[in-house]
């Protein structure tokens, strides 16, 4: 079985073909704003401009290798409305053109499913952290339930905001991680965990202010240590509460080595196991949509054209996980 996956919820437009065991081909094009952060309409325009090229390259590989597609999967949400609409339109065209079914995929669930597929994790508590999302999830009674999430902005967004305020290039995460390695001391910053939820906007502001008085490297280090400790604490609580023995890290911020290391220590201390997918599956990519589409298709889930409208606020727990 071979499924084409289309991703384009935010920055990255990506198309891929996967079968049960591997990624056959993946092509991507990333929107880079001239300055500042993401502009939804411009990002959608980027996706429209590059759709033919990105999808064309994947289809060409399919022709050359004689791969027959069984379905078109696309990220239906959550994400930026204009970007989602561009991708959904392309997916509908491909579905009609090739006479194969559509599979509308929840973007967050795709991060989880590709992670499980890639690492062999069976039933983990999942920490999903990216520019748009920060959630702790676990499968319970047939759905990925949200055990904890951010009360304001995502951790990736907080890192980017702080980076911008101190003149670091976008995206902020990698540069902050690098600077943090040469830090000399920890500077106290607000640590906000409320019940099972966390908050990052106060931390981002406090770090920007601290940068005026302290070494930038020290502030970067303290930002990471504080923000990541919050995420790890809630992940541990979710493991205890939902009785999960595994934890898995997914999403773009998951590329940060320190965050992975902290989760690994937490898991080992409580006799659990930690799973970290390969870096190429961490950020948004077409393979994760294709992979999830394939899993859903095998369980008999397809999306009729009339129900293929985009869902910018699509929540993880709205999806019945019939394939688990």
């Amino acid at each position: 079985m071979i499924v084409l996956g289309l991703e384009g919820t935010a920055w990255n437009l990506s198309a891929a073909l996967v079968d049960e065991s591997r990624v056959l081909v993946e092509k991507s094009s990333t929107y880079v704003p001239a300055k500042g952060g993401i502009h939804p309409r411009e990002a959608a325009q980027h996706h429209a401009d590059h759709m033919a090229e990105v999808v064309g390259n994947v289809l060409q590989a399919a022709r050359e290798n004689g791969w027959q597609m069984d379905a078109v999967a696309f990220s239906q949400g959550p994400g930026l409305g204009p970007c989602l609409r561009t991708v959904a339109t392309a997916a509908r065209v491909l579905s009609l053109r090739f006479g194969i079914p559509l599979v509308g995929v929840n973007h967050c669930i795709a991060h989880i499913e590709v992670g499980k597929w890639n690492t062999g994790a069976r039933d983990p508590a999942v920490l999903y952290v990216s520019g748009g999302n920060s959630q702790v999830l676990a499968l319970r009674q047939g759905r990925y339930r949200i055990f904890g999430e951010t009360l304001d902005i995502s951790v990736g967004n907080a890192l980017d905001k702080f980076a911008r305020s101190v003149g670091l290039p976008h995206p902020g995460g990698p540069r902050i991680e690098e600077l943090a390695r040469s830090a000399g001391q920890y500077i106290p910053l607000p640590y906000t965990v409320k019940g099972m939820d966390f908050s990052f906007s106060g931390l981002s502001t406090a770090a920007s202010e601290a940068a005026r008085k302290h070494e930038l490297a020290d502030v970067c280090y303290s930002f990471q240590e504080t923000a990541f400790a919050m995420l790890v604490e809630v992940t541990e609580r979710a493991m205890a509460h939902a009785e999960k023995k595994e934890a898995m890290l997914v999403g773009g911020v998951g590329a940060n080595r320190r965050l992975g290391e902290m989760l690994d220590i937490m898991c080992r201390e409580r006799g659990g196991r930690f799973f970290l997918p390969e870096r190429k599956f961490m950020g948004d990519n077409g393979s994760m949509i294709a992979c999830t589409g394939l899993i859903m298709l095998r369980a008999g889930v397809t999306t009729p054209l009339g129900q293929s409208q985009v869902r910018p606020g699509y929540r993880t727990d709205e999806v019945e996980v019939v394939w688990a």
């Binding site: 949200i146 106290p188 409320k194 400790a229 609580r237 493991m239």
Partner: protein, 192 residues
């Protein structure tokens, strides 16, 4: 003789001569400065909220002593509500939680395992996740957690829920609003 009576994600509880010691354990994934700050702040906050709740008319363990990462408090014997709950006791829980919320305290882990029946009285224990919040949402989540425990572990849950509502409405002027919010929270499908 000291013996362990509980261990959570955060702390270990031991009891000796009628005194419970709740010690918050270090986490080696976080830097020592932050680790100590969190454990200390939470120890102080928990002790403070336990005493404050009692002043609001909720039976809680008496705090005997406090050190940096450890609370020493009265040992509450008896049985967990989980094993003995009846509609009448659930009504009394409603009264108790109403008083708590009236004072702006959210327990954060309101299960039938965290309520003890001791000498014909109900005691609320384990304030490890408690915090101050006067908001309808936070209080709604508190009540929702209690209802979910009833549904998942007790027969005749609906009867127990109705009894709680009766007591809660009686002791808290914003109870109606909170109970309406609980329905919304349930529909969102979180905190299960």
């Amino acid at each position: 003789m000291e013996s362990e009576i509980g261990r959570g994600a955060e702390a270990v509880l031991t009891v000796e001569d009628g005194v419970v010691r709740k010690l918050r354990l270090p986490k080696s994934y976080r830097v020592p400065e932050l680790d100590e700050q969190i454990r200390h702040e939470r120890t102080v906050r928990e002790a403070r909220i336990i005493s404050e709740a009692r002043r609001c008319g909720v039976a809680t363990p008496i705090i005997m002593d406090l050190s940096r990462f450890e609370i020493m408090m009265e040992y509450i014997g008896g049985v967990r509500l989980k094993e003995v709950v009846t509609p009448e006791l659930s009504r009394q829980v409603g009264v108790m939680v109403g008083r708590l919320h009236r004072c702006g305290i959210v327990h954060g882990d309101l299960t039938t395992s965290n309520i003890m029946r001791y000498r014909e009285r109900l005691y609320l224990i384990d304030f490890g996740l408690a915090y101050h919040d006067w908001g309808i949402e936070a209080q709604g989540v508190d009540v929702h957690v209690y209802f979910q425990t009833l549904i998942s572990t007790h027969d005749r849950a609906q009867e127990l829920i109705s009894a709680f509502q009766e007591g809660y409405l009686q002791s808290y002027e914003k109870a109606k609003e909170v109970l309406a919010r609980v329905e919304e929270i349930k529909a969102r499908g979180r905190y299960l």
